[in-house]
Subunit: 316 residues, 2 copies
């Protein structure tokens, strides 16, 4: 397939202007939000996006608002040059790459007449700042999906989904897409964004795209790059456990306590440290005791310094 | 001026469709959000809106999400017929009156494939339900402007600004205006919406419109209708106190403690019960001790069963 050079935009205003121009020409736009360091999982989101809209915007932005100070913002991998090469080669191509510098710095906003008098926003290019400063005239507005954000990853990452919902809201307002595509690998995130879109009446269709796996079964993630060969081998215990639980459930083993215990044992014995292993309702994300409706088995576990998440829907 | 019959729309989809059609014709749209029971204050917002856009949408919706269970949702005054007569006669007219039934009921949303399985949303037509139910698959997404919402009215009305920011977000997504006009009578609300629009990158200009007063000085409010003649007379102590403080400040009396004490004394002696009397920075809404930059004196006080708010900017 012929390579296509995406337009690279960094400013909010120019991004929105492009979207509005395209819309005025009757074009539909899909947004694929990413934090960069793209892999085949991201590219599959773009291919999914092509099924739903005529033009594709990929955003690349490592969002400080979703990292707590103790988390890995400063070591989050990035490779803009590599990302661009991948985006150029993706079937159907990408029309715009939106890579803003700092979406929490309002001092240069054209529409903003309020100067940042206190000068408290220090997110700039500093890789060591890990969350948004909450004082002075800096950013202070947060979107929360209050029930769905509580469980699973929300327990160990208290500001994570607040940060995700807020940055997605901002990107939606800047890009003004008709459709946005999210990976079901981040299952809770996908459900939270769906709920947010419903509750806040966004005129945007949310598409969930299936989990992409390497040949060995490991769910694709930008964080996999931090795994040693040995850790990676151990980490396969996650997807193996999920598959085993799914086939167990299909064979009538529907008691969640047993399915979870087996997965926890398998992962722990492989050398992983469990954050959570929960079988929950696909919509409410509330834990179930027995599988008799559509559920999803969600696991988060540490291998060395890397926290991985994975999940599998079980529809019986 | 010739009367103009506004188009009355109740559905989200038809509202958004109208806005998009008008925008495709190159028209600009201003939204004036109201809870109905319109008075001259609202009409002045519409006249302000005419300065900023070609078409005017007035929304009429008593938002349950901003009332706590103990507040006056069930007695909030309404008069749709009277409102329509006023809107027809306002200079320049109104193009659309958007009066949705229940903006927290998603069971009939065209885009929503998730049935409300638990049936927990009971906001319907029932005037006695005073806030949004927080369980099941009901509404659970809230926008919070975390610093500005804390003080002044936020202290005694803990869910108020969360409800306001959320419903305004919803209305912005449904109406998709270029401009929205808010009254500076609700000063904290106006600042919160400004901040929210900046922080969430809404492409909407927020215009603040000056406080409207009756000839006797009382700030116009839908709640004034609940005042007896005697209470109304006593309530004039608020605007009188604000005026006195303003002229005092202009004469060099810049110590806030003294200005506030005098106002509190005046209102209390008139029979009012103070909720708060604060002199705050116009942007951060943080209390100041001495007036040496633009401030606003904000007062909330009860007269009988009616809670009134008023404020005055002091620019010295």
């Amino acid at each position: 397939m012929a390579a296509k050079d995406p337009l690279v935009l960094t400013g909010k205003d120019e991004m929105r202007k492009w979207s509005r121009l395209m819309r005025s020409h009757g074009k539909t736009i899909a947004l694929v939000p990413t934090m960069g360091y793209l892999h085949q999982g991201h590219l599959s989101l773009i291919q999914e996006a092509h099924k739903h809209a005529q033009l594709i915007v990929v955003s690349i932005y490592v969002n400080p608002g979703q990292f707590s100070p103790s988390e890995d913002l400063s070591t989050y991998p990035s490779d803009f040059h590599g990302d661009m090469l991948k985006l150029k080669s993706v079937p159907g191509g990408v029309d715009v790459v939106f890579c803003p510098k700092n979406l929490y710095d309002y001092s240069n906003d054209s529409g903003d007449k309020q100067k940042n008098k206190n000068g408290n926003e220090s997110l700039g290019g500093g890789g060591s700042v890990s969350c948004v400063e909450e004082k002075g005239n800096g950013h202070e507005t947060w979107v929360r999906v209050e029930r769905l954000e509580k469980g699973l990853c929300g327990k160990s990452r208290p500001v994570f989904f607040r940060g995700v919902a807020t940055i997605v809201t901002k990107l939606f307002h800047i890009v003004e897409p008709d459709v946005a595509v999210f990976g079901k690998k981040d299952y809770q995130q996908w459900r939270i964004i769906q709920r947010m879109v419903r509750d806040l009446d966004f005129a945007i269709e949310i598409v969930g795209s299936e989990v992409m796996r390497d040949n060995d079964g490991l769910a694709l993630s930008s964080r996999n790059v931090h795994l040693s060969a040995e850790e990676r081998e151990k980490a396969l215990s996650i997807s193996k456990s999920l598959l085993k639980a799914k086939s167990g459930a299909k064979d009538g083993q529907v008691k969640c306590r047993e399915l979870k215990d087996l997965a926890i044992l398998t992962i722990t014995q492989a050398g992983g440290r469990i954050d959570y292993a929960e079988i929950v309702d696909q919509e409410s994300l509330e834990a179930v005791e027995e599988i008799n409706s559509p559920v999803v088995f969600c696991i988060a576990a540490w291998f060395g310094k890397v926290r991985l998440i994975d999940n599998m829907e079980i529809n019986i």
